[in-house]
């Protein structure tokens, strides 16, 4: 019994170096070395995504992902998303994008800043906000 255990231990010891050499990168915690995506690259990624989105499903999936992060998407991303909604002919999704911004920003002045920045876009597309639709 004891000799058997000893031999097992010895074999393990003999095997270990190669195992360790192979397994070391696997055992490193993947979470410890995540690259932090910068806000700019995030924006670029989603602008590219929305510019290439082909149909409503993809646009809405992208919006879900984009608004799930702990940040407010930049105006460039919003513009790309609204234009994508225009491309797939869905008015409601375009309105919903602005509703999502209103939900994500910290205060009303930030929302107003987004609205001011994107006013040309809304006028170009004839887009009303939810507040404008339901004024009464």
């Amino acid at each position: 019994m004891r000799t058997q255990m000893l031999s097992t231990v010895l074999r393990a010891a003999a095997v270990r170096p190669t195992l360790a050499a192979r397994a070391a990168p696997l055992l490193a915690r993947p979470s410890s070395s995540h690259a932090q995506e910068s806000f700019e690259s995030f924006s670029e990624r989603y602008i590219a995504f929305f510019q290439n989105a082909e149909d409503l499903f993809e646009v809405q999936r992208g919006l879900n992902n984009c608004f799930a992060h702990d940040l407010v998407p930049s105006t460039g991303v919003v513009e790309a998303a609204v234009r994508a909604a225009r491309r797939v002919n869905d008015y409601a999704t375009a309105v919903r994008v602005f509703e999502g911004i209103k939900e994500k920003v910290e205060n009303k002045s930030q929302y107003q800043a987004y609205l001011d920045e994107l006013k040309p876009l809304r006028e170009e597309l004839g887009l009303s906000l939810k507040e404008e639709l339901y004024t009464s």
Binding site: D55, L56, A92, G126, S128
Partner: protein
């Protein structure tokens, strides 16, 4: 180069189209072209201006008809849409129906408040009624009795190591009523 890709995509877009449940009813795609004509003929019957009030009572076929009507409308320039059409499009896609039905109605919190108050009141009435109608507390729960118990315990040297008769005891002994 990219425009060529875009062109190829747009040409392939027409036959294959994915939709979320927010925009077109899933059954809209499943409807065959034969029934589409009958649907489009019926679609004129549903006024978009009032779709929000009617939506809950529409049958699924009528909903599909409204979806199709809106889908055609939204292909136009959005500046040409009337506010009713815009509201209908928004309501059908993201309005408070289906999975977005609000979990509570407007008067609900008042109802909950009143019901909670009524239950608390009933419990209070029950408590004081039981106190009023029940027997008085037993005589051993009076302070005098408990002090007498203490005296008796000291007399008998009860619990001499950690308890009431021990050296330097500072507790109240058997006194628990005020």
């Amino acid at each position: 180069m990219q425009s060529v890709v875009r062109l190829a995509r747009s040409s392939s877009r027409a036959p294959f189209r994915r939709c979320l449940a927010t925009t077109a009813a899933p059954s809209a795609d499943a409807l065959s072209s034969s029934s589409a004509s009958s649907v489009s003929s019926r679609s004129a019957a549903i006024p978009l201006s009032n779709v929000e009030a009617q939506w809950a009572r529409l049958t699924s076929e009528e909903k599909v008809a409204v979806h199709e009507q809106l889908e055609v409308l939204q292909q136009k320039d959005w500046k040409e849409l009337t506010i009713d059409e815009k509201k209908a499009a928004y309501y059908v896609a993201f309005g408070p129906h289906g999975p977005r039905t609000p979990t509570s109605q407007p008067g609900d919190s008042l109802k909950i408040l009143l019901a909670t108050g009524a239950l608390l009141g009933a419990a209070g009435v029950l408590f004081y009624a039981a106190r009023a109608l029940g027997n008085p507390p037993p005589k051993t729960l009076t302070k005098e009795w408990q002090e007498a118990t203490n005296e008796r315990a000291l007399e008998m040297k009860l619990n001499p190591i950690t308890g009431i008769s021990s050296e330097g005891y500072k507790g109240k002994g058997f006194v628990q009523s005020t």
